[in-house]
Amino acid sequence: MRGWGRWLAAAGVFVLLGLGVGVEPSLAAECAETADGTPWWVWPLVLFVFCFVLGIIAVLAGVGGGVLYVPLVSGFFPFHLDFVRGAGLFVALAGALAAGPGLLRRNLASLRLALPVAVIASSCAIVGAFMGLALPTNVVQICLGGTIVFIAILLLMSKNVERPQVQEQDPVGLALGMSGAYQEYTGEFVQWKTHRTLPGLLLFILIGVMAGMFGLGAGWANVPVLNLLMGVPLKIAVGTSKFLLSITDTSAAWVYMNQGCVIPLMAIPSIVGLMLGSFVGVRILAVAKPKMIRYLVIGVLLFAGLRSLWKGLGL
């Protein structure tokens, strides 16, 4: 727990260095207040602290940062959904990039499993991103709300299987080399292979579109498809899913960035805050009760999803 102090100190230094110095005097007077009277630096600061807490909660609840970030920030902060989705993709991307090396080195993410899936999901994420930017905001907001409520129910209901039984690998999985092995902490070697590969790959079309359209990391969908449908062991499914986000979200993130949807003033505190929070979350994980927090997050997601629906419907 002493690590907390270090991370909080680092967070404080980042915020104070960045926001406390202020702008040059002549500009400071001009930029002191926004239209509603809030100084410009307030929201980035609040966002940083919020994302720091979000990073802790996300780790404890076993969900990605993006899936919490987009509905909560679009629902409770003054930013337009376009910018929240742009930042949300980078939040999910940064988390996936940071986790990727460890997962790949320990064989907990399989590059060979991820490659074919990534091509489908990342291509469709581009399509989803363009759809999301072309559709009216209220339509996207309603779809986002519906998706978030669905995710909350999925998290509540889904019962992943630690080691699904795959009797025989199907021809598609065999041709794509979707098999491998990993070692448990007990020293046991576990070999795995996929089945129902084609329907699994087809589902990644939908997952990619949704990831791009809503700016969400798609771990909530990747894991059940890889684990329950394709028969990948839970450890490999979770690891590969996290790694997969680094590829899927990259393609959509480029689209949002090229369209001007990434505002550094709000995106960078989000990314850095969530990453620092995740490091703290990993340390707290050892002493926390993740199950209770998971239920809390499901409740928050339901609330955020319903609020998004409410906003989209203009109620």
């Binding site: 337009h80 910018f83 990259t250 505002i263 003033l265 990453m275």
Partner: protein
């Protein structure tokens, strides 16, 4: 059964590029953000204006603040706000760099299916990054 599971070499290379690139990107983002919000580097779009625009759809922000689309930000690297894109682009570009290293690795191993998949993925990422694809937004 083997007593040791070997991680494929190309997977290790991929992991190493991600590791160093990611932390370099985060470090650059923190430094450039400090230069930006502290006022050491003057921004292209005044900070106050951004906080007025971020509640509006992206089209209004881009048009009203003369924000360049695609790679147009490169000519504005001398401005505090667009300097931040160096770190952001590094994060967004890492996966492409990794895939470009995978292609020769798979070709050398004569794993033609994987080489083809890695090539297609690299092309998808190049297409997304190029800014060629465009939409009107809203």
């Amino acid at each position: 059964m083997s007593t040791e599971i070997e991680t494929p070499k190309e997977q290790i290379l991929y992991a190493n590029i991600l590791f160093y690139g990611c932390w370099l990107g985060i470090f650059i983002m923190i430094v450039t953000y400090f230069l930006y919000v502290s006022g050491i580097m003057e921004p292209h779009v005044p900070l106050q204006r951004i906080s007025q625009c971020w509640s509006e759809p992206v089209g209004k922000y881009v048009e009203g603040s003369q924000v360049p689309l695609g790679w147009g930000w490169v000519v504005l690297l001398g401005k505090g706000d667009f300097l931040n894109f160096v770190g952001i682009v590094l994060l967004a570009g890492l996966t492409l760099v990794c895939f470009l290293t995978l292609i020769p690795a798979y070709v050398a191993q004569k794993r033609w299916v994987f080489a083809l998949i890695a090539t297609v993925e690299a092309l998808v990422l190049i297409l997304a990054a190029s800014g060629i694809l465009a939409t009107g937004g809203h």
